[in-house]
């Protein structure tokens, strides 16, 4: 597990909060604890894989409301819920809203640690994916407009000759643009390039 990962504990009961911090630290996790949702939100969003261990019954903003608040602020952090007195509708609501786990106190410590591990792994994977995509976008942005044009045509299945005809240039010029673009994109092969362009299109499509 990455050294940089952080577990945030939000629980209004001081002894639960400190004992949770102790338990999570005992397996080598970095832990920060907060007594309320509000104090957590004051902190700058972390740059490392992280997750929340959250009590459902909090003074002030409740755990479930807090979950919605985070989603509204587009803070994508996996949540492990713990509760002293949970009912089924409550847990269903939490799980539907994307919670990793819903544990009832007193829980088995291994269950909590497993849930935290899963949450951190999920967050790490998500961050990695986002980072890859950002890199790719930067590389694509470094292409000249003509190179981007040529690459789009190549990927859509057109032959060099057809592209040359379309753009009104020599076939050789197309070949030069193409090899430069491949180099800038760090594409190992034509297939690699197609995958990269698909990746870039993917989220763009979803966003539209």
């Amino acid at each position: 597990m990455s050294h940089a990962s952080v577990v945030f504990v939000v629980d209004d009961d001081p002894s639960v909060r400190s004992s949770l911090k102790f338990l999570l630290s005992s397996v080598g996790l970095q832990v920060e604890s907060f007594e309320s949702a509000e104090t957590f939100l004051q902190r700058k969003p972390p740059d490392a894989p992280s997750c929340l261990v959250l009590d459902v019954r909090l003074r002030g903003l409740s755990g479930l409301d807090f979950q919605h608040e985070l989603a509204a602020r587009n803070i994508r952090i996996p949540i492990v819920f713990v509760t002293g007195h949970g009912d089924i509708p409550m847990s269903v609501r939490a799980m539907k809203a994307g919670a990793i786990e819903f544990l009832t106190k007193p829980y088995r410590d291994q269950d909590l640690l497993d849930a935290v591990r899963i949450a951190l792994e999920q967050d790490r994977a998500r961050r990695e994916q986002e980072r890859d995509l950002t890199d790719l976008q930067q590389r694509f942005d470094s292409l000249t407009p003509r190179e981007q044009e040529v690459i789009s045509m190549v990927v859509s299945g057109m032959l060099n000759k057809q592209i040359a005809g379309e753009l009104g240039t020599a076939e050789n010029t197309v070949k030069v643009h193409r090899s430069r673009a491949m180099e800038k994109m760090h594409a190992q092969s034509f297939a690699d390039l197609v995958r990269m362009i698909e990746k870039l299109k993917g989220p763009a499509k979803k966003a539209s």
């Binding site: 004992s19 102790f22 338990l23 007193p106 829980y107």
Partner: protein, 517 residues
């Protein structure tokens, strides 16, 4: 006497006779008429004339056919013809006469042909009786009979008549629908073939006794019995019987109604009612337990916090220890926190106990047997559902105790429910629940709840500890709270093993002041 004198005397005598006949003819109470061979009247007495409303001279213009109702003429002519042909000496006919005013009335005519005799031409002699009243009565009777026949034929109930030997004389078409037998399959057979075996003897002896003593063994109006169909199926029937005597023999007629559907509807209604009662009882039970349930839930939440902290701290220490990374000062701090959380948990329990003691109670003089009875009534459903045999031994004349009825309900419900739950897994012996009340050695009222369940083993003392439970879904608070409630009444609650199986929970309550103890 000279010949002339004698002839005169003779003439006088025959005139007398003639006069006598004429008078008799004229004043007869019955209509008499004579008609010539062609049918024209030439003599009729006053009764006859008055029947028809004609004067003598009017009548003698008419023939018998003229005064006979058109519809009856043909039959009349036929009889006349037979008489003329010598096939009969006389005939009798019931027919309608048509009066002068056009109205009709019924008569019975006895008609004979008086043969030619001493130069006198043959003529018709009719004796006429007005039978209108009899005809009307007959018609009314026929109408009534027809009406009853129609009722019986079209009745949806089976209608069966019996003779004195209980053999079937008559069965209507509905009998087939009800019993499956065609009427002809039943005629002459004993009624018992329509009853299930167990009713036959009863019917035979009951019927015989009725015939000899007039004493009925069943109500004859709307008695519910069991019928037997041809296909062997038994079904509920409602039977009504009546009796009439004909020529010195008694005939019994019964209406037998198939009430299967009605019974089914009744059964469904009963079940629905039972379901409602069960629900109500359950509701009553739940509402009484709610206070305790809510309390337990809030206790669970409050106590779970320090318990969770204790677990977290202990587990962290164990993990560090396993990796030989546990520093003494870390351990000390963790232990301090564990102790603090343990203390906090006990404080919560203490607070709850104090709260229960402080909870406003309404103490009244109560008859514990009455309270037990109320709880057993609430639990009836649970006993039934779990196959529990209940045995209550409630001592009579128990002095009243001073207590809160609802709290005592809660405690008893809790003890009895525990007993029931302890027996649900028992399959090799009866599930017995005893509830006893008596006065104990020190003069207190003692209530004991015994079960034949799994028992408490070595844990008898621990069951009153908060959060101790032997049940999968138990909170472990029921007995702890129950003990607090009983102690709040100045009594005691304890557990001991039952012999040979199960547990006994006993509680004592002091007798209310002013009662003899």
């Amino acid at each position: 006497m000279s010949h002339a004198e004698s002839a005169a005397a003779h003439a006088e005598a025959s005139q007398h006779i003639e006069q006598r006949w004429r008078t008799a003819f004229e004043s007869s109470a019955i209509g008499i008429a004579m008609a010539d061979f062609a049918g024209r009247f030439f003599a009729a007495n006053s009764v006859f004339r008055n029947m028809l409303g004609y004067t003598e001279s009017e009548l003698y213009q008419l023939t018998y056919l003229d005064v006979t109702c058109e519809e009856d003429r043909k039959a009349n002519q036929e009889l006349v013809r037979e008489l003329v042909e010598g096939k009969r000496q006389h005939f009798q006919i019931e027919k309608r006469y048509c009066c002068k005013d056009g109205s009709l009335f019924w008569v019975r005519n006895n008609v004979s042909l008086v043969p030619e005799m001493g130069g006198v031409a043959p003529f018709w002699f009719a004796v006429v009786e007005d039978i209108t009243q009899r005809k009307e009565e007959e018609s009314a009777r026929r109408y009534t009979e027809e009406k009853y026949r129609l009722v019986v034929e079209t009745a949806s109930d089976a209608v069966i008549s019996l003779d004195e030997s209980s053999a079937i004389l008559l069965a209507n078409p509905a009998t087939t629908r009800v019993f499956g037998y065609a009427p002809e399959e039943l005629i002459g057979k004993p009624l018992t073939m329509l009853m299930p075996e167990f009713l036959r003897k009863l019917h035979e002896t009951g019927f015989k006794r009725y015939l000899s003593t007039g004493q009925r063994h069943i109500n004859w109006q709307g008695t519910e019995l069991i019928g037997l169909r041809k296909n062997g199926q038994e079904f509920p029937v409602e039977v009504s019987f009546g009796e009439l005597t004909k020529d010195g023999h008694r005939v019994f007629t019964g209406f037998i109604r198939d009430i299967s559907e009605r019974k089914q509807a009744e059964e469904m209604r009963k079940q629905a009612q039972k379901a409602i009662q069960t629900t109500q009882a359950e509701l009553a039970r739940v509402s009484r337990l709610t206070t305790m349930g809510e309390l337990a839930a809030s206790i669970a939440h409050e106590v779970n916090q320090p318990l969770t902290a204790v677990n977290n701290n202990s587990n962290a220490c164990l993990r560090l220890l396993a990796n030989q990374k546990l520093q003494p000062d870390v351990l000390r701090r963790a232990l301090e926190e564990i102790v603090a959380d343990g203390t906090r948990a006990s404080a919560i329990i203490a607070r709850i106990r104090a709260f229960i003691k402080k909870a406003p109670t309404e103490k009244n003089r109560l008859d514990v047997n009455e309270v037990i009875g109320e709880v057993l009534a609430m639990m009836g459903h649970a006993f039934e559902e779990n196959g529990i045999l209940l045995q209550s031994e409630l001592a009579e004349a128990i002095p009243p105790v001073l207590g809160d009825r609802v709290q005592l309900h809660q405690v008893l419900l809790n003890l009895i429910m525990n007993g029931v739950e302890a027996m649900t897994a028992i399959i090799d012996r009866p599930r017995l629940l005893w509830v006893q009340s008596r006065i104990d050695e020190s003069g207190d009222v003692l209530i004991a709840v015994r079960d034949s369940g799994t028992g408490l083993g070595l844990e008898a003392d621990r069951v009153f500890t908060p959060f101790f439970t032997t049940k999968a879904n138990g909170m472990g608070m029921g007995l702890s709270i129950s003990r607090s409630l009983i102690e709040g009444h100045g009594g005691r609650l304890w557990a001991s093993p039952n012999s040979p199986h199960g547990a006994v929970f006993s509680l004592t309550l002091p007798v209310a002041d002013g009662s003899p103890s």
